[in-house]
Amino acid sequence: MKQFFFLVLVIIQLSLTAQTTIYGKVTDSKGVPIAGANVYLDGTYDGTATAKNGKFSFTTEEKGQQTLIVSFISFETFYTTTIVKNLSNLQIKLRDDVNTLDAVTVNAGSFKAGENAKVTALKPLDIVTTAGAMGDFIGALQTLPGTSNVAEDGRLFVRGGDAEETQIFVDGMRVFTPYSPTANNIPTRGRLSPFLFKGITFSTGGYSAEYGQALSSVLLLNSIDEPEENKTDISLMTVGLGVGNTQKWKNNSLSINASYINLKPYQELYPDSNEWHKPVQSLGGEAVYRHKINDNGLLKLYGAFSAVTFDVTQEDINTEEGTRFGMKNRNLYFNASYKDFLPNDWSVQTGVSFANDYSDIDIVSNNVKDTESAAHFKVKLSKFYSSRFRLNFGSEYFMTNFKEDYITDTNENYNFDFNTNIAASFVEANIFFSKKLAANIGLRGEYASLFNDFTVSPRVSVAYKSGANSQVSLAYGQFYQNPKNDYLKFNTDFSAENTSHLIANYQYVKNKQIFRAEAYYKDYNHLVKYNTEQPLQTSNYSNSGSGFAKGLDLFWRDNKSIKNTEYWVSYSYLDTERDYKNYPTKATPSFASQHNASLVIKHFITNLKSQVGLSYNFASGRNYTDPNKNDFLSSKAKNYNAVNANWAYLISQQKILYFSVSNVFGTQNVNGYQFKNQANTNGVFESRTIRPAADRFFFVGFFWTISETKKDNQLDNL
C-alpha cells in the first residue's frame, strides 16, 4: 500500500515535470557566437538568453510540434517548427538584418534628403535655408555636385545635360511644367512650394527603371502624408504676401495656400537693367487633400494653379530700342495618387497627373499662343518576398497635346500641333545578397506612338560595403527621351534620343561626416540635329547627333567638427562635347562649365535665437561663339563667383524674421555675349556683354504661424 502510493506519487511528479531540454548554439553567418539572443518557444513562457559562447539550454514541458524562435537585434528573427524532442544540439545561424543603418545602400548617382534616408546629403531644412537658394529647392540642389551653374537660366543642368534632360516627379507622377516662365536672362524658380514635401531624392544618373523620359537626371519629391496640426501661416515679404491654412480631421486633412507676388515696389527701390512696362506679377494657389482609407490606404489629391504676367524691354545689340517681351501664362496642375497594402505582402501605388499650360507671348510685334496639355497614368505593384528580395513592376502612359498659334507682324498665321503618346512598362528587383552586397536590376520598355519607336532600357546598380564606414557602388543604364516640343511641332519623323550612363561611386560615412566621390561616363546618341539657325518648319531634321560627358563629382559634409556649425563643399569636374542642334562640329555647349564648386555654411547662434548662413558658388567660364574668330564655341567667358548670406531670427516661437542677400560683394558676373548680326565697316562684329539684370538681390520676410499649440513655425518654409 505504502509502495503503491509512493509509486503513484512518483508518477504524478514525473508527469508534472516531464521535461525536455532544448539546447544548442547561436552564431552569426560567419560562425561567431552571439551572446544575449532571445531563444524561446512560441506561445509559451519557456525560453532563455544565449551565453557568451552563444550556447543556450532550457527545459520545457511542451510536447509535439512547437515553434522555436531566436531573435536578436540587428539580425533577422529565426523560426523553426518541429517536434520538441528534436530541438536538441541545434546549430542556429542568424542572418544579418539588411534594414539596419550599417547595411549597404544602392546609391550610385543619387542624393537623398528627408526623414527616411539613411545617409542624408541634405536635411529637410537645408532645402530651404541654403543662402542664395531664395527658398527655392532647385537652388539648394544646385549646391550639390553634378550640377552646373547656369545663372541666367535657374533650371537644373546635370552632368553635361541640358535642363530638359531632367524630369521632376511628385509622388511618382510626372510634373510637366515645373518651372515658372521668365524673360531671357532672368533665372526661373520652381513652381512647387518646398514645404509640401517630406523627402527628396535627386538622382544625377543611373536611376531606377521606374523612371523614363529623362536623359540625365530625375528629381523625386514625396509629399507629406499627414500634417501635424491645424494652423494658419502668414508671410509678408518684400516681393509679396502669402497665406496658408491646414485643417486636420480624423481621416482627412486639407492644406491650402495662396500667394501674390509683385516685383514692382522692389524694382522701384532697386531698378535693374531691364525696362519693365509691367513688372512680374504672379498669383498662385495650391491645395492638398489627404484621405486615409482603412489602416494603410492613403489617397492624396494635389492641385495647383498659377498665373504670371510681365512685360519688359531688354537690351539688344541689333535693335536700338531693345526687344520687347510680354508674357501671360496660366498653369494648372493636378496630381492624384493612391497607395495601399494588399494581402500577402503586396502593395499598390497608382496615380494620375494632369497639366494644362497656356502662354500668350508677345515678342516685338509677333504673337505666339502655346497650349500644352499633358497627362500621366501609372500603376505600380510591389511584392515584398522578404527584406532581401522585393519585386516592383508597373505600367504607365503619357499623353501630350501641343498647339501653337503664331501670328507674325505682317498678320500671317501659322498653326502647329501634335499629339504624342508614350506607353511604358518596367520591372525591377531589389536584392540583398547580404548586409554587404546589394543590387537593383531593372528593365524598361517604351513605345512612342508618334514615330512608332520601341526602346528597351536595361538598368543595373550594385553596391558593396568595403569597410565599416565605406562602400563602393557601380551603375549602368540606358535612358531614352523623346525629342522636345520645339522640334516635334515641326517634324515627327524621329526616334528617341539616347544616353548610356556608367557610374562608379565611393562613399565614406562616419559620425555626421560624409565623403562621396563619383566618376561617370555618359554616351549620347540619336540627338536631334537641324540645319537652320533656329528650328523651323522648313529645316531638315535628323537623329544623327551624338556626344559624351565624363567627369568627377566630390562632396564633403561635416556636421561635427565645428560646434553649432554645419557645412558642405562640393566640386564637379566636367568634360563634355556634343554635336547636336545646328552645331557644325562637336563642341562643349554654352551651358556646361568645366569646374563647378560650392561651399555652404550654416551656423546656429543659440543665444541670439538665430541661424546665419553663407554660401559661395564658383563656376569656370562657359563657352561662346565669337563670330570675329571664325571658330565655333571656342571662346570662354569669365568665371562666375558669388557669395550669398542669410539670417533667420526667431522673434518668438511662431514669428520669424528672415533676411537674405545674394551676391553680397556685387561681383560683376557675365552670363555671355551678344554679337551684332552684321559686321561693321571694319569687318568687326560688335558685341555686348550679357550681365545679370541686377548683381544683388535682397529679400526680407516676416513669417507668422498661428496654431493651437503655438509651437509650429515656418522655419521649414523659408
Binding site: 506519487l9 524561446y40 509559451t44 513562457y45 534594414n99 526623414e115 493651437e708
Partner: protein
C-alpha cells in the same frame, strides 16, 4: 514576494512525503498545490513579475526579452509589447552609436505598433511613441528635431484630447513645453502649474489594473522641485 506561498507549499509536501500514514493528507495537499499555484499566480503574472525584477536589477536586455516572450503568449494583451518597447526606448537614451540606436528604436517601434493594434488610441502607448521620438531628438537634435518635435506636439495634443486627466500625459506635455520655453527664454511658471496638476492627478489615480504603467509620481516631484527652484531665483 509572490513566489513565496508556492515554495512553502512544496516544502510542506516534501515533509509530508516522509510520513506515509498521512497519505490522504498528501493527496489533498497535492490537489491544493495545483489549485494554489493557479490562484496565487498565473504564468503571465509570474513572467511579468520576473521581467520587472530583471528591469529593476538593470538587466534591461533580459527584461525586454522576457516581455517579448510574454507578448508571444498573451497575444491580446497590450502590456507585454508595450513594456518590451518602452524598456528598449529608455535603454536607447544611453546609446552613442547611431546604427545601434536606430536598430533598438526600430525594434521598439515594431513592439509599439503591436501594442497599438491591440489597444487603439491608448494614451500610455502614445506617450511611448513620443518617448521614442525624444530618443532620436536627444541623439541628434539638428537631424531629427525639426521633423520629430512637430510629431511629438501632435501626439501630446491627441493624448490630451483623449484623456485630459491622465497624469502621465499632463506631465509629459508639461515637460515638453518646458524644454521649448527654456530655449526661447520664456517663463516656466505656467508649466510648473501643469506639473502640480499632474502630481494631484497621480495621487488621485485609482490603480486597478495589474502591471498597468501607473508610475511617474517620483519624476513629477523631481521636476516640480527644479521648477520651484528656478522660479524662486527669478
Amino acid at each position: 514576494m509572490h513566489n513565496q506561498p508556492k515554495v512553502m507549499i512544496f516544502d510542506e509536501t516534501i515533509n509530508s512525503n516522509i510520513k506515509f500514514n498521512k497519505m490522504k493528507k498528501i493527496a489533498l495537499l497535492l490537489a491544493f498545490v495545483c489549485v494554489a499555484t493557479i490562484s496565487a499566480q498565473t504564468p503571465y503574472e509570474k513572467g511579468m513579475t520576473k521581467a520587472f525584477e530583471l528591469w529593476k536589477s538593470n538587466e534591461s536586455t533580459k527584461a525586454i526579452q522576457m516581455f517579448e516572450r510574454i507578448s508571444n503568449v498573451e497575444k491580446d494583451n497590450w502590456l507585454p509589447p508595450y513594456y518590451a518597447a518602452t524598456v528598449e526606448i529608455i535603454s536607447a537614451f544611453e546609446i552613442k552609436d547611431e546604427t545601434v540606436l536606430t536598430a533598438k528604436l526600430n525594434k521598439a517601434k515594431s513592439f509599439l505598433d503591436i501594442a497599438d493594434t491591440l489597444s487603439k488610441n491608448n494614451p500610455e502607448i502614445l506617450m511611448s511613441y513620443a518617448l521614442l521620438n525624444t530618443a532620436y531628438i536627444a541623439f541628434d537634435g539638428q537631424k531629427y528635431g525639426m521633423i520629430l518635435s512637430g510629431k511629438n506636439v501632435a501626439i501630446y495634443n491627441k493624448a490630451l484630447a483623449i484623456v485630459p486627466n491622465n497624469p502621465r500625459v499632463v506631465l509629459g506635455k508639461a515637460e515638453w513645453d518646458m524644454g521649448a520655453a527654456k530655449f526661447f527664454g520664456q517663463p516656466l511658471e505656467p508649466f510648473c502649474k501643469d506639473v502640480k496638476k499632474a502630481i494631484e492627478l497621480f495621487k488621485k489615480e485609482e490603480q486597478t489594473i495589474k502591471f498597468y504603467p501607473y508610475s511617474g509620481l517620483g519624476r513629477a516631484n523631481e521636476i516640480l522641485e527644479k521648477c520651484e527652484k528656478k522660479s524662486s531665483q527669478n
